[in-house]
């Protein structure tokens, strides 16, 4: 459930609606306005902090991180998630590094799926 909040905020940051330094709503405010529990929003903020999207200053609240490259960082994080899912699938299929490399070299839609 916290993923939805993470995605919503990431999208706002990625689109530039919430620029660097922008103050995020307090946890309780966001929970109340989006009708989800406080703990769900807490979890989402923690996740966003780990991903470097936001920073939390004790007693002052949370802000969009002052990275110049935030949209790219978010995209990179997204790609990393896909990559991990891809490698997981490949491992289930029992593919070794060479076969994975061959797939990457061939690119999509080349009909080389093992």
């Amino acid at each position: 459930m916290y993923r939805q909040i993470v995605d919503q905020i990431s999208t706002k940051v990625m689109l530039g609606d919430w620029p660097a330094g922008y103050p995020l709503p307090s946890i309780r405010e966001l929970a109340s306005s989006s009708h989800v529990s406080v703990i769900t929003v807490k979890r989402a903020y923690l996740e966003l902090e780990h991903a470097g999207v936001i920073v939390t200053r004790h007693g002052k609240g949370s802000f969009v991180a002052a990275s110049h490259d935030l949209p790219r960082a978010l995209l990179r994080a997204e790609m990393h998630r896909h990559l991990q899912a891809f490698l997981g699938c490949a491992a289930q299929l029992g593919l070794d590094t060479h076969e994975i490399q061959r797939l990457l070299d061939a690119g999509p839609d080349k009909g080389v799926m093992p």
């Binding site: 459930m1 109340s32 009708h35 406080v38 703990i39």
Partner: protein
């Protein structure tokens, strides 16, 4: 941190039903969902907290005070709403609002008017003409407009149509803004609980079978679908269902190494997905073991 309520070693015996060994507490500012099938003991538990029922054994503290000894002080700051409460049919909602306002100094008339609008209720209509949903909303209005520090709500969304239910849930989420107000609400509808609750307690046949924060619950459980002949009987597997070579597992205390361990036993893991609270609840009850 102080707590909104704390139950320790609560025991209550009826001829047909026993509530046994309940220890449960709710920190200030949190919302707890109490989930259980009909007859699980949810109402008894709430009634013990309100002072309407006296426990045979155990210690009950509400808002730092002892129950039932200090119940007058506790009731001033506690709101209780339950479906079987009756309003006066021949009187209007306004009459009821004035009655409650005369008893409780905390009555917030502006908030009451706001709730009238949001619940789409007419204060000059007599209760006899209200539908079931309107009656439930009227009861909640009378309770919420007092702004009590602890709300005890017995099945607040049961029997409501989808529109009324979301109105009630939206008003309930107002409470989230205030870190000194706490809510315990019971439901057999896990979807309502899943949305708003910070922590969740499962009650079954008079026993507390699980209680922890909601995100932990959702993190701990996974549904795994795999192929192969081996059927693992490991402690973390709460349920296993086989259909030919397809094996569906419901796993508590999920950890990342489990798919590899299944693969090492010759199973091909097809999917690992989080579970909905309802599924977790049903699996827990069927497995008969702690979640």
């Amino acid at each position: 941190m102080t707590v909104a309520f704390a139950l320790t070693g609560i025991h209550k015996q009826y001829p047909q039903f026993t509530l046994s060994d309940i220890s449960l507490s709710l920190p200030h500012g949190q919302i707890m969902g109490l989930v259980g099938v009909n007859g699980a003991g949810k109402t008894t538990l709430l009634r013990i907290l309100t002072g309407l029922v006296r426990a045979d054994r155990g210690d009950v503290r509400v808002l730092g005070l002892r129950m039932p000894e200090d119940q007058v002080a506790v009731k001033a700051d506690t709101g209780f709403a339950s479906e079987d409460m009756r309003l006066y049919k021949s009187q209007t909602l306004r009459w009821h609002m004035d009655l409650i306002a005369a008893i409780y100094p905390g009555w917030d008339e502006n908030y009451a008017r706001d709730l009238l609008r949001r619940f789409d209720l007419k204060s000059d209509q007599s209760i006899g003409g209200f539908s079931h949903g309107q009656r439930v909303k009227a009861l909640l209005l009378l309770c919420f407009a007092r702004r009590p520090r602890l709300l005890l709500l017995d099945e607040p969304t049961t029997g409501l149509d989808p529109v009324a239910r979301s109105e009630v849930l939206e008003v309930l989420s107002d409470v989230l803004r205030d870190e000194t107000r706490s809510v315990l609400f019971s439901s057999h509808n896990t979807h309502d609980v899943e949305q708003l609750a910070d922590s969740i307690s499962f009650l079954h046949q008079g026993r507390l079978i699980a209680s922890q924060d909601k995100e932990r619950f959702l993190d701990d459980w996974r549904r795994i679908v795999c192929f192969g002949d081996y059927t693992p009987e490991w402690p973390e597997i709460a349920a296993a269902r086989r259909n030919g070579s397809v094996l569906e597992l419901k796993v508590r205390d999920f950890c990342g190494e489990l798919p590899a361990r299944l693969a090492a036993h010759g199973l091909t893991v097809q999917s690992v997905d989080p579970m909905r609270l309802e599924d977790i609840f049903v699996t827990t009850v069927r497995a008969g073991a702690p979640a």
